[in-house]
Protein backbone atom coordinates (compact mmCIF):
# COMPACT_ATOMS: atom_id res chain seq x y z
CA UNK A 1 0.00 0.00 0.00
CA UNK A 2 2.42 2.65 -1.04
CA UNK A 3 1.22 4.42 -4.17
CA UNK A 4 -1.01 7.47 -3.60
CA UNK A 5 -3.67 5.84 -5.74
CA UNK A 6 -3.73 2.69 -3.61
CA UNK A 7 -4.02 4.84 -0.47
CA UNK A 8 -7.00 6.57 -2.04
CA UNK A 9 -8.64 3.29 -3.07
CA UNK A 10 -8.52 1.99 0.50
CA UNK A 11 -9.37 5.37 2.00
CA UNK A 12 -12.53 5.46 -0.11
CA UNK A 13 -13.79 2.46 1.90
CA UNK A 14 -13.40 4.37 5.18
CA UNK A 15 -16.27 6.63 6.28
CA UNK A 16 -15.52 10.32 6.81
CA UNK A 17 -14.41 11.10 10.35
CA UNK A 18 -14.16 7.42 11.32
CA UNK A 19 -12.27 6.18 14.36
CA UNK A 20 -9.72 3.84 12.85
CA UNK A 21 -7.49 1.12 14.26
CA UNK A 22 -4.76 0.18 11.78
CA UNK A 23 -3.32 -3.25 12.61
CA UNK A 24 0.22 -3.56 11.30
CA UNK A 25 0.29 0.13 10.44
CA UNK A 26 3.93 0.21 9.31
CA UNK A 27 5.24 3.76 9.27
CA UNK A 28 1.73 5.16 9.67
CA UNK A 29 1.32 6.21 6.06
CA UNK A 30 -2.31 5.12 5.73
CA UNK A 31 -3.41 6.64 9.05
CA UNK A 32 -1.69 9.91 8.15
CA UNK A 33 -3.51 9.85 4.82
CA UNK A 34 -6.86 9.15 6.50
CA UNK A 35 -6.34 11.92 9.04
CA UNK A 36 -5.43 14.38 6.30
CA UNK A 37 -8.02 13.51 3.69
CA UNK A 38 -10.94 12.09 5.66
CA UNK A 39 -10.69 13.63 9.10
CA UNK A 40 -10.18 10.25 10.77
CA UNK A 41 -8.64 9.62 14.17
CA UNK A 42 -7.34 6.55 15.94
CA UNK A 43 -4.28 4.43 16.52
CA UNK A 44 -1.87 2.25 14.65
CA UNK A 45 -0.63 -1.06 16.03
CA UNK A 46 2.90 -2.10 15.13
CA UNK A 47 5.46 -4.60 16.39
CA UNK A 48 8.60 -3.21 14.74
CA UNK A 49 10.73 -0.68 16.68
CA UNK A 50 11.72 1.34 13.61
CA UNK A 51 8.10 1.60 12.45
CA UNK A 52 6.94 2.65 15.92
CA UNK A 53 9.54 5.39 15.86
CA UNK A 54 8.48 6.46 12.35
CA UNK A 55 4.85 6.72 13.47
CA UNK A 56 5.67 8.82 16.53
CA UNK A 57 7.80 11.09 14.34
CA UNK A 58 5.03 11.76 11.89
CA UNK A 59 2.51 12.34 14.65
CA UNK A 60 0.57 9.09 14.36
CA UNK A 61 -0.46 7.54 17.66
CA UNK A 62 0.98 4.04 17.67
CA UNK A 63 0.75 1.16 20.12
CA UNK A 64 3.56 -1.38 20.08
CA UNK A 65 2.02 -4.83 20.27
CA UNK A 66 2.46 -8.28 18.86
CA UNK A 67 -0.78 -9.02 17.01
CA UNK A 68 -0.26 -12.73 17.68
CA UNK A 69 -1.21 -11.93 21.29
CA UNK A 70 -4.66 -10.74 20.20
CA UNK A 71 -6.45 -7.45 20.69
CA UNK A 72 -7.28 -7.63 24.40
CA UNK A 73 -6.37 -3.95 24.66
CA UNK A 74 -9.40 -2.96 22.62
CA UNK A 75 -13.05 -3.17 23.66
CA UNK A 76 -15.82 -4.66 21.50
CA UNK A 77 -16.95 -2.40 18.67
CA UNK A 78 -14.75 0.43 19.93
CA UNK A 79 -13.65 1.49 16.44
CA UNK A 80 -15.60 2.37 13.31
CA UNK A 81 -13.00 0.74 11.11
CA UNK A 82 -10.25 -1.78 11.72
CA UNK A 83 -7.68 -1.92 8.93
CA UNK A 84 -5.61 -4.98 8.33
CA UNK A 85 -3.64 -4.15 5.23
CA UNK A 86 -1.01 -6.62 4.08
CA UNK A 87 -0.82 -7.94 7.64
CA UNK A 88 -2.92 -11.09 7.75
CA UNK A 89 -0.42 -13.15 5.77
CA UNK A 90 2.23 -12.65 8.47
CA UNK A 91 0.10 -13.98 11.31
CA UNK A 92 -0.04 -17.55 12.52
CA UNK A 93 -3.58 -17.36 13.79
CA UNK A 94 -5.28 -15.77 10.80
CA UNK A 95 -8.78 -16.87 11.68
CA UNK A 96 -8.62 -15.61 15.26
CA UNK A 97 -7.25 -12.31 14.02
CA UNK A 98 -10.15 -11.98 11.64
CA UNK A 99 -12.59 -12.66 14.48
CA UNK A 100 -10.83 -10.08 16.64
CA UNK A 101 -11.01 -7.54 13.82
CA UNK A 102 -14.76 -8.04 13.58
CA UNK A 103 -15.12 -7.87 17.37
CA UNK A 104 -13.26 -4.58 17.76
CA UNK A 105 -14.43 -2.77 14.63
CA UNK A 106 -17.80 -2.12 13.05
CA UNK A 107 -16.16 -2.43 9.64
CA UNK A 108 -13.07 -4.48 8.83
CA UNK A 109 -10.94 -3.76 5.79
CA UNK A 110 -8.50 -6.48 4.88
CA UNK A 111 -5.95 -6.74 2.08
CA UNK A 112 -3.48 -9.51 1.31
CA UNK A 113 -1.55 -10.97 -1.63
CA UNK A 114 -3.81 -13.10 -3.81
CA UNK A 115 -2.06 -16.40 -4.40
CA UNK A 116 -4.48 -17.28 -7.22
CA UNK A 117 -3.36 -14.38 -9.42
CA UNK A 118 -2.72 -15.96 -12.82
CA UNK A 119 1.09 -15.55 -12.97
CA UNK A 120 1.28 -17.36 -9.62
CA UNK A 121 -0.88 -20.17 -11.00
CA UNK A 122 1.35 -20.49 -14.07
CA UNK A 123 4.44 -20.58 -11.94
CA UNK A 124 3.01 -23.34 -9.76
CA UNK A 125 2.05 -25.28 -12.91
CA UNK A 126 5.73 -25.18 -13.94
CA UNK A 127 6.53 -26.72 -10.58
CA UNK A 128 7.94 -23.67 -8.82
CA UNK A 129 6.63 -21.31 -6.12
CA UNK A 130 5.82 -17.83 -7.44
CA UNK A 131 8.14 -14.88 -6.93
CA UNK A 132 6.35 -11.69 -8.00
CA UNK A 133 5.97 -8.04 -7.03
CA UNK A 134 3.15 -8.93 -4.62
CA UNK A 135 4.94 -12.07 -3.38
CA UNK A 136 8.57 -11.03 -3.72
CA UNK A 137 10.11 -13.72 -1.53
CA UNK A 138 11.54 -17.17 -2.13
CA UNK A 139 9.59 -19.94 -0.44
CA UNK A 140 12.35 -20.49 2.13
CA UNK A 141 12.64 -16.91 3.36
CA UNK A 142 9.15 -15.51 3.01
CA UNK A 143 7.57 -13.70 5.97
CA UNK A 144 4.20 -14.65 4.46
CA UNK A 145 3.41 -17.66 6.57
CA UNK A 146 -0.24 -17.78 5.39
CA UNK A 147 -0.90 -17.67 1.67
CA UNK A 148 -4.50 -17.64 0.51
CA UNK A 149 -6.58 -16.61 -2.43
CA UNK A 150 -9.35 -14.14 -3.05
CA UNK A 151 -11.80 -17.06 -3.20
CA UNK A 152 -10.39 -18.64 -0.02
CA UNK A 153 -11.06 -15.47 1.95
CA UNK A 154 -14.70 -15.42 0.91
CA UNK A 155 -15.04 -18.91 2.36
CA UNK A 156 -13.29 -17.95 5.61
CA UNK A 157 -15.43 -14.84 6.02
CA UNK A 158 -18.63 -16.85 5.50
CA UNK A 159 -17.47 -19.51 7.96
CA UNK A 160 -17.06 -16.80 10.62
CA UNK A 161 -20.44 -15.22 9.96
CA UNK A 162 -18.92 -12.13 8.40
CA UNK A 163 -20.70 -10.25 5.64
CA UNK A 164 -18.56 -9.04 2.73
CA UNK A 165 -19.89 -5.56 1.94
CA UNK A 166 -17.37 -4.88 -0.78
CA UNK A 167 -14.50 -6.75 -2.37
CA UNK A 168 -12.21 -6.24 -5.30
CA UNK A 169 -8.71 -6.88 -6.52
CA UNK A 170 -5.81 -4.50 -6.90
CA UNK A 171 -3.16 -4.84 -9.53
CA UNK A 172 -0.49 -2.35 -10.49
CA UNK A 173 -2.45 0.28 -8.62
CA UNK A 174 -5.66 -0.41 -10.57
CA UNK A 175 -8.92 -1.71 -9.11
CA UNK A 176 -9.89 -5.08 -10.57
CA UNK A 177 -13.56 -5.94 -10.19
CA UNK A 178 -13.87 -8.55 -12.93
CA UNK A 179 -12.45 -11.97 -12.06
CA UNK A 180 -10.26 -10.57 -9.29
CA UNK A 181 -9.24 -14.06 -8.15
CA UNK A 182 -7.51 -14.53 -11.49
CA UNK A 183 -6.58 -11.01 -12.47
CA UNK A 184 -5.43 -9.27 -9.28
CA UNK A 185 -2.23 -9.65 -7.29
CA UNK A 186 -3.83 -8.17 -4.16
CA UNK A 187 -7.24 -8.96 -2.65
CA UNK A 188 -9.24 -6.30 -0.76
CA UNK A 189 -12.31 -7.04 1.38
CA UNK A 190 -14.62 -4.91 3.44
CA UNK A 191 -16.38 -7.03 6.03
CA UNK A 192 -19.01 -6.48 8.68
CA UNK A 193 -20.50 -8.69 11.35
CA UNK A 194 -23.64 -10.69 10.64
Amino acid sequence: MTTPHQLDVIAALVPQGARVLDLGCGTGQMLAHLQRTRGCSGYGVEIDDANVHACVRRGIEVIQLNLEEGLALFEDQSFDVVLQLETLQHLRNTERMLQETARVGRIGIVSFPNFAHWPNRLRVVTGRMPVTKALPYEWYDTPNIRVGTFADFEVLARKNGLRVTDSFGLHDGRVVRRWPNLRASVAVFRIERG
Partner: protein, 374 residues
Protein backbone atom coordinates in the same frame (compact mmCIF):
# COMPACT_ATOMS: atom_id res chain seq x y z
CA UNK B 1 24.54 16.56 22.33
CA UNK B 2 25.78 18.42 25.34
CA UNK B 3 25.32 18.75 29.02
CA UNK B 4 23.38 21.52 30.69
CA UNK B 5 26.69 22.19 32.45
CA UNK B 6 27.08 23.28 36.04
CA UNK B 7 23.86 23.76 37.91
CA UNK B 8 22.85 25.09 41.32
CA UNK B 9 19.83 23.89 43.28
CA UNK B 10 17.32 26.51 44.36
CA UNK B 11 14.86 26.64 47.24
CA UNK B 12 11.31 27.82 47.64
CA UNK B 13 9.55 28.23 50.98
CA UNK B 14 5.83 27.74 51.39
CA UNK B 15 4.10 29.08 54.46
CA UNK B 16 0.62 27.91 53.51
CA UNK B 17 0.10 24.39 54.90
CA UNK B 18 -0.24 21.56 52.40
CA UNK B 19 -3.33 19.41 53.04
CA UNK B 20 -2.43 15.75 52.62
CA UNK B 21 -4.49 12.85 51.35
CA UNK B 22 -4.36 11.21 54.77
CA UNK B 23 -6.16 14.18 56.31
CA UNK B 24 -2.99 15.46 57.98
CA UNK B 25 -1.28 18.66 56.92
CA UNK B 26 2.31 19.56 56.24
CA UNK B 27 2.49 22.91 58.10
CA UNK B 28 5.18 24.94 56.36
CA UNK B 29 7.65 23.39 54.00
CA UNK B 30 10.54 23.93 51.65
CA UNK B 31 11.03 22.51 48.16
CA UNK B 32 14.41 22.20 46.52
CA UNK B 33 14.47 22.30 42.74
CA UNK B 34 16.64 22.83 39.68
CA UNK B 35 15.80 24.23 36.28
CA UNK B 36 17.47 23.85 32.90
CA UNK B 37 16.88 25.85 29.74
CA UNK B 38 14.87 29.03 29.49
CA UNK B 39 11.19 29.67 30.13
CA UNK B 40 9.80 31.31 27.00
CA UNK B 41 7.80 34.53 27.01
CA UNK B 42 4.48 32.68 26.72
CA UNK B 43 5.55 30.38 29.60
CA UNK B 44 4.44 27.48 27.44
CA UNK B 45 7.59 25.36 27.25
CA UNK B 46 7.89 24.05 30.81
CA UNK B 47 8.46 20.33 31.39
CA UNK B 48 8.35 18.87 34.88
CA UNK B 49 10.52 15.82 35.63
CA UNK B 50 9.28 13.68 38.54
CA UNK B 51 11.76 11.56 40.42
CA UNK B 52 11.62 7.97 41.59
CA UNK B 53 12.49 6.37 44.91
CA UNK B 54 16.11 7.34 45.50
CA UNK B 55 16.52 10.23 43.07
CA UNK B 56 16.08 13.96 43.52
CA UNK B 57 15.70 17.37 41.92
CA UNK B 58 19.17 16.91 40.42
CA UNK B 59 18.04 15.64 37.02
CA UNK B 60 20.78 16.93 34.74
CA UNK B 61 24.10 18.74 34.72
CA UNK B 62 26.86 18.68 37.31
CA UNK B 63 27.79 20.47 40.52
CA UNK B 64 30.85 22.69 40.49
CA UNK B 65 33.92 20.98 41.87
CA UNK B 66 32.20 17.62 42.33
CA UNK B 67 33.38 14.64 40.34
CA UNK B 68 30.73 12.36 38.86
CA UNK B 69 27.91 14.61 39.95
CA UNK B 70 25.81 14.19 36.80
CA UNK B 71 22.08 14.33 37.37
CA UNK B 72 20.17 11.05 37.39
CA UNK B 73 18.60 11.60 33.96
CA UNK B 74 21.51 13.46 32.38
CA UNK B 75 21.50 11.11 29.37
CA UNK B 76 17.93 12.20 28.54
CA UNK B 77 17.86 15.88 29.50
CA UNK B 78 20.14 18.49 27.97
CA UNK B 79 20.84 20.54 24.87
CA UNK B 80 20.13 18.38 21.82
CA UNK B 81 19.09 15.44 24.01
CA UNK B 82 15.69 13.69 23.76
CA UNK B 83 14.25 16.19 26.24
CA UNK B 84 15.96 19.15 24.64
CA UNK B 85 16.74 22.03 26.98
CA UNK B 86 17.21 24.30 23.98
CA UNK B 87 13.45 24.04 23.37
CA UNK B 88 12.09 23.26 26.81
CA UNK B 89 12.38 24.75 30.27
CA UNK B 90 12.91 21.68 32.42
CA UNK B 91 12.18 21.56 36.14
CA UNK B 92 13.35 18.91 38.60
CA UNK B 93 11.92 19.06 42.11
CA UNK B 94 12.64 17.07 45.25
CA UNK B 95 9.48 15.73 46.85
CA UNK B 96 8.55 16.47 50.46
CA UNK B 97 9.41 13.53 52.69
CA UNK B 98 12.58 12.91 50.74
CA UNK B 99 16.07 13.47 52.07
CA UNK B 100 17.75 15.62 49.45
CA UNK B 101 16.82 19.09 50.61
CA UNK B 102 13.05 19.41 50.56
CA UNK B 103 11.29 19.22 53.91
CA UNK B 104 11.55 15.68 55.22
CA UNK B 105 11.92 13.52 58.33
CA UNK B 106 15.36 14.91 59.18
CA UNK B 107 13.95 18.43 59.51
CA UNK B 108 12.84 19.88 62.79
CA UNK B 109 9.21 19.43 63.76
CA UNK B 110 7.86 22.94 64.41
CA UNK B 111 5.96 21.86 67.57
CA UNK B 112 8.42 19.56 69.28
CA UNK B 113 11.66 21.20 68.26
CA UNK B 114 13.18 17.81 67.46
CA UNK B 115 13.51 15.98 64.15
CA UNK B 116 10.24 14.80 62.60
CA UNK B 117 11.60 11.27 62.26
CA UNK B 118 8.82 8.71 62.20
CA UNK B 119 6.26 11.49 62.94
CA UNK B 120 6.63 12.96 59.48
CA UNK B 121 3.16 12.71 57.94
CA UNK B 122 2.57 9.92 55.45
CA UNK B 123 2.77 11.48 51.99
CA UNK B 124 1.25 10.10 48.80
CA UNK B 125 1.90 10.47 45.09
CA UNK B 126 -1.07 12.86 44.98
CA UNK B 127 0.40 15.00 47.78
CA UNK B 128 3.67 15.29 45.87
CA UNK B 129 1.83 16.34 42.75
CA UNK B 130 -0.01 19.03 44.71
CA UNK B 131 3.26 20.27 46.18
CA UNK B 132 4.79 20.37 42.70
CA UNK B 133 1.76 22.35 41.46
CA UNK B 134 2.40 24.95 44.14
CA UNK B 135 5.99 25.26 43.00
CA UNK B 136 4.73 25.91 39.47
CA UNK B 137 2.36 28.55 40.84
CA UNK B 138 5.30 30.24 42.47
CA UNK B 139 7.31 30.04 39.25
CA UNK B 140 4.40 31.57 37.32
CA UNK B 141 3.78 28.49 35.21
CA UNK B 142 0.09 27.97 34.62
CA UNK B 143 0.33 25.00 32.27
CA UNK B 144 3.05 22.46 31.61
CA UNK B 145 3.99 21.48 28.06
CA UNK B 146 4.66 18.05 29.54
CA UNK B 147 5.28 16.07 32.69
CA UNK B 148 7.60 13.07 32.56
CA UNK B 149 8.71 10.44 35.03
CA UNK B 150 9.93 6.87 35.29
CA UNK B 151 8.85 4.24 37.83
CA UNK B 152 7.47 6.10 40.87
CA UNK B 153 8.09 9.28 38.86
CA UNK B 154 5.82 7.88 36.17
CA UNK B 155 3.07 7.51 38.77
CA UNK B 156 3.40 11.20 39.61
CA UNK B 157 3.30 12.07 35.90
CA UNK B 158 0.07 10.06 35.53
CA UNK B 159 -1.36 11.59 38.68
CA UNK B 160 -0.75 15.08 37.24
CA UNK B 161 -3.13 14.34 34.38
CA UNK B 162 -5.80 13.18 36.83
CA UNK B 163 -5.47 15.88 39.50
CA UNK B 164 -4.58 18.87 37.35
CA UNK B 165 -5.59 17.89 33.81
CA UNK B 166 -5.94 21.49 32.68
CA UNK B 167 -2.46 22.31 33.84
CA UNK B 168 -0.63 19.72 31.72
CA UNK B 169 -0.73 19.17 27.95
CA UNK B 170 1.31 15.96 27.69
CA UNK B 171 2.44 13.13 29.92
CA UNK B 172 5.24 10.60 29.48
CA UNK B 173 4.92 7.64 31.85
CA UNK B 174 7.94 5.37 31.66
CA UNK B 175 8.50 1.93 33.23
CA UNK B 176 5.62 2.47 35.59
CA UNK B 177 2.35 0.88 36.73
CA UNK B 178 -1.18 1.99 37.61
CA UNK B 179 -0.70 0.42 41.07
CA UNK B 180 1.66 -1.97 42.83
CA UNK B 181 1.05 -5.71 42.62
CA UNK B 182 0.98 -7.88 45.73
CA UNK B 183 4.52 -8.96 44.87
CA UNK B 184 5.67 -5.33 44.63
CA UNK B 185 4.14 -4.55 48.02
CA UNK B 186 5.71 -7.71 49.45
CA UNK B 187 9.19 -6.58 48.42
CA UNK B 188 8.53 -3.13 49.94
CA UNK B 189 7.36 -4.71 53.17
CA UNK B 190 10.50 -6.83 53.50
CA UNK B 191 12.56 -3.68 53.00
CA UNK B 192 10.57 -1.79 55.60
CA UNK B 193 10.83 -4.60 58.14
CA UNK B 194 14.59 -4.69 57.63
CA UNK B 195 14.75 -1.02 58.59
CA UNK B 196 12.20 -1.03 61.41
CA UNK B 197 13.72 -4.07 63.13
CA UNK B 198 17.23 -2.63 63.07
CA UNK B 199 18.03 -1.98 66.78
CA UNK B 200 19.40 1.42 65.75
CA UNK B 201 16.04 2.49 64.33
CA UNK B 202 14.59 3.51 67.73
CA UNK B 203 11.05 3.74 66.41
CA UNK B 204 12.17 6.20 63.78
CA UNK B 205 13.74 8.67 66.24
CA UNK B 206 17.30 7.47 65.82
CA UNK B 207 18.59 11.00 65.20
CA UNK B 208 18.24 11.76 68.90
CA UNK B 209 20.32 8.69 69.69
CA UNK B 210 23.12 9.73 67.39
CA UNK B 211 22.88 6.50 65.37
CA UNK B 212 21.62 5.44 61.96
CA UNK B 213 19.84 2.16 61.18
CA UNK B 214 22.42 1.37 58.52
CA UNK B 215 22.00 -2.40 58.67
CA UNK B 216 18.31 -2.14 57.89
CA UNK B 217 18.89 0.34 55.10
CA UNK B 218 21.56 -1.86 53.56
CA UNK B 219 19.28 -4.87 53.43
CA UNK B 220 16.41 -2.75 52.13
CA UNK B 221 18.58 -1.48 49.33
CA UNK B 222 19.89 -4.95 48.50
CA UNK B 223 16.33 -6.23 48.11
CA UNK B 224 15.32 -3.23 46.04
CA UNK B 225 18.34 -3.59 43.83
CA UNK B 226 17.50 -7.18 42.97
CA UNK B 227 14.13 -6.04 41.65
CA UNK B 228 15.70 -3.34 39.47
CA UNK B 229 17.78 -5.78 37.44
CA UNK B 230 16.65 -8.51 35.10
CA UNK B 231 17.63 -12.11 35.76
CA UNK B 232 19.57 -12.10 32.49
CA UNK B 233 21.40 -8.86 33.23
CA UNK B 234 22.45 -10.17 36.63
CA UNK B 235 23.51 -13.48 35.12
CA UNK B 236 25.54 -11.75 32.45
CA UNK B 237 27.19 -9.31 34.81
CA UNK B 238 27.96 -11.71 37.65
CA UNK B 239 26.93 -15.25 36.87
CA UNK B 240 28.44 -17.54 39.47
CA UNK B 241 31.71 -15.68 39.47
CA UNK B 242 33.66 -16.02 42.69
CA UNK B 243 35.69 -13.42 44.51
CA UNK B 244 38.52 -15.88 45.06
CA UNK B 245 39.75 -18.68 42.86
CA UNK B 246 38.07 -21.37 44.98
CA UNK B 247 35.22 -21.74 47.46
CA UNK B 248 36.18 -20.54 50.92
CA UNK B 249 33.59 -22.73 52.66
CA UNK B 250 32.38 -19.86 54.76
CA UNK B 251 28.76 -18.99 55.50
CA UNK B 252 29.51 -15.37 56.38
CA UNK B 253 32.20 -14.15 54.02
CA UNK B 254 31.54 -12.93 50.53
CA UNK B 255 31.95 -15.83 48.13
CA UNK B 256 30.15 -14.73 44.97
CA UNK B 257 30.60 -11.47 43.09
CA UNK B 258 26.87 -10.80 43.20
CA UNK B 259 27.07 -10.77 47.00
CA UNK B 260 29.90 -8.31 46.85
CA UNK B 261 27.96 -6.10 44.46
CA UNK B 262 24.80 -6.08 46.56
CA UNK B 263 26.70 -5.39 49.76
CA UNK B 264 28.51 -2.53 48.05
CA UNK B 265 25.22 -1.06 46.82
CA UNK B 266 23.73 -1.43 50.29
CA UNK B 267 26.73 0.21 51.99
CA UNK B 268 26.77 3.13 49.58
CA UNK B 269 23.04 3.68 49.95
CA UNK B 270 23.07 3.55 53.74
CA UNK B 271 25.61 6.39 53.77
CA UNK B 272 23.33 8.92 52.14
CA UNK B 273 19.71 7.80 52.37
CA UNK B 274 17.38 8.45 55.27
CA UNK B 275 15.61 5.44 56.79
CA UNK B 276 12.34 7.28 57.45
CA UNK B 277 12.33 8.55 53.89
CA UNK B 278 12.68 4.99 52.64
CA UNK B 279 9.64 3.98 54.66
CA UNK B 280 7.62 6.96 53.45
CA UNK B 281 8.47 6.54 49.79
CA UNK B 282 7.81 2.81 49.67
CA UNK B 283 4.45 3.50 51.33
CA UNK B 284 3.63 6.16 48.73
CA UNK B 285 4.27 3.49 46.11
CA UNK B 286 1.99 1.02 47.91
CA UNK B 287 -0.88 3.51 48.18
CA UNK B 288 -0.87 4.66 44.56
CA UNK B 289 -4.03 3.37 42.90
CA UNK B 290 -6.00 5.94 40.90
CA UNK B 291 -8.66 3.34 40.06
CA UNK B 292 -9.54 2.96 43.75
CA UNK B 293 -11.77 6.01 43.84
CA UNK B 294 -13.57 4.73 40.74
CA UNK B 295 -14.63 1.29 41.88
CA UNK B 296 -11.40 -0.23 40.63
CA UNK B 297 -12.11 0.98 37.10
CA UNK B 298 -8.93 2.51 35.71
CA UNK B 299 -10.66 3.69 32.53
CA UNK B 300 -13.08 5.74 34.61
CA UNK B 301 -10.18 7.22 36.56
CA UNK B 302 -8.59 8.39 33.31
CA UNK B 303 -11.75 10.13 32.10
CA UNK B 304 -10.28 13.13 33.87
CA UNK B 305 -7.23 13.05 31.62
CA UNK B 306 -9.12 13.62 28.37
CA UNK B 307 -7.45 16.31 26.35
CA UNK B 308 -3.98 15.33 27.45
CA UNK B 309 -1.59 13.46 25.10
CA UNK B 310 0.41 10.50 26.41
CA UNK B 311 3.55 8.51 25.80
CA UNK B 312 3.84 5.21 27.65
CA UNK B 313 7.08 3.21 27.54
CA UNK B 314 7.86 -0.16 29.08
CA UNK B 315 10.81 -2.53 28.92
CA UNK B 316 10.37 -6.21 28.11
CA UNK B 317 12.73 -7.47 30.85
CA UNK B 318 11.30 -5.22 33.58
CA UNK B 319 9.75 -7.66 36.03
CA UNK B 320 9.13 -5.01 38.67
CA UNK B 321 6.74 -3.06 36.44
CA UNK B 322 6.36 -5.39 33.46
CA UNK B 323 4.86 -4.36 30.09
CA UNK B 324 1.49 -5.83 31.09
CA UNK B 325 1.17 -3.09 33.73
CA UNK B 326 1.89 -0.38 31.17
CA UNK B 327 -0.66 -1.95 28.86
CA UNK B 328 -3.27 -1.48 31.60
CA UNK B 329 -2.53 2.24 31.43
CA UNK B 330 -2.65 2.23 27.63
CA UNK B 331 -5.98 0.40 27.68
CA UNK B 332 -7.50 2.91 30.09
CA UNK B 333 -6.38 5.71 27.78
CA UNK B 334 -7.61 4.01 24.61
CA UNK B 335 -10.95 3.34 26.31
CA UNK B 336 -11.22 7.11 26.75
CA UNK B 337 -10.10 7.81 23.19
CA UNK B 338 -7.12 9.68 24.56
CA UNK B 339 -4.11 10.24 22.30
CA UNK B 340 -1.41 7.76 23.35
CA UNK B 341 1.65 6.19 21.84
CA UNK B 342 3.12 3.12 23.49
CA UNK B 343 6.58 1.70 22.99
CA UNK B 344 7.59 -1.67 24.42
CA UNK B 345 11.36 -1.66 24.27
CA UNK B 346 13.22 -4.99 24.15
CA UNK B 347 15.96 -3.80 26.49
CA UNK B 348 17.88 -6.42 28.49
CA UNK B 349 18.43 -4.41 31.68
CA UNK B 350 15.18 -4.84 33.58
CA UNK B 351 13.56 -1.96 35.45
CA UNK B 352 16.80 0.05 35.42
CA UNK B 353 16.48 0.37 31.63
CA UNK B 354 14.51 3.59 32.06
CA UNK B 355 17.65 5.28 33.39
CA UNK B 356 19.97 3.92 30.72
CA UNK B 357 20.84 5.19 27.30
CA UNK B 358 19.09 2.84 24.87
CA UNK B 359 18.74 4.18 21.32
CA UNK B 360 15.35 2.55 20.63
CA UNK B 361 13.96 4.07 23.82
CA UNK B 362 15.54 7.49 23.54
CA UNK B 363 14.64 8.05 19.90
CA UNK B 364 10.93 7.47 20.61
CA UNK B 365 11.06 9.89 23.55
CA UNK B 366 12.88 12.39 21.35
CA UNK B 367 10.37 12.06 18.48
CA UNK B 368 7.48 12.47 20.91
CA UNK B 369 8.93 15.62 22.50
CA UNK B 370 9.78 17.02 19.05
CA UNK B 371 6.05 16.91 18.29
CA UNK B 372 5.14 19.03 21.29
CA UNK B 373 4.61 22.66 20.41
CA UNK B 374 6.20 25.20 22.66
Amino acid sequence: MGSVGEVTPQQMHFSEPLPLKSGAVLPAYRLVYETYGTLNAQRSNAVLVCHALNASHHVAGTYAGQERSEGWWDNLVGPGKPLDTERFFVIGVNNPGSCFGSTGPTDTHPDTGRAWGADFPVVTVEDWVDAQARLLDALGIERLAAVIGGSLGGMQALSWTLRHPRRVRHCAAIATAPSLSAQNIAFNEVARRAIVTDPDFHGGHFYAHGVLPRRGLRVARMIGHITYLSDDAMEQKFGRELRAAEFGYSTQDIEFQIESYLRYQGDKFSEYFDANTYLLITRALDYFEPAREHGGDLARAFEAARGCGFLVVSFTTDWRFPPARSREIVKALVDNRIAVSYAEVAAPHGHDAFLLDDERYHRVVRAWFDRIET
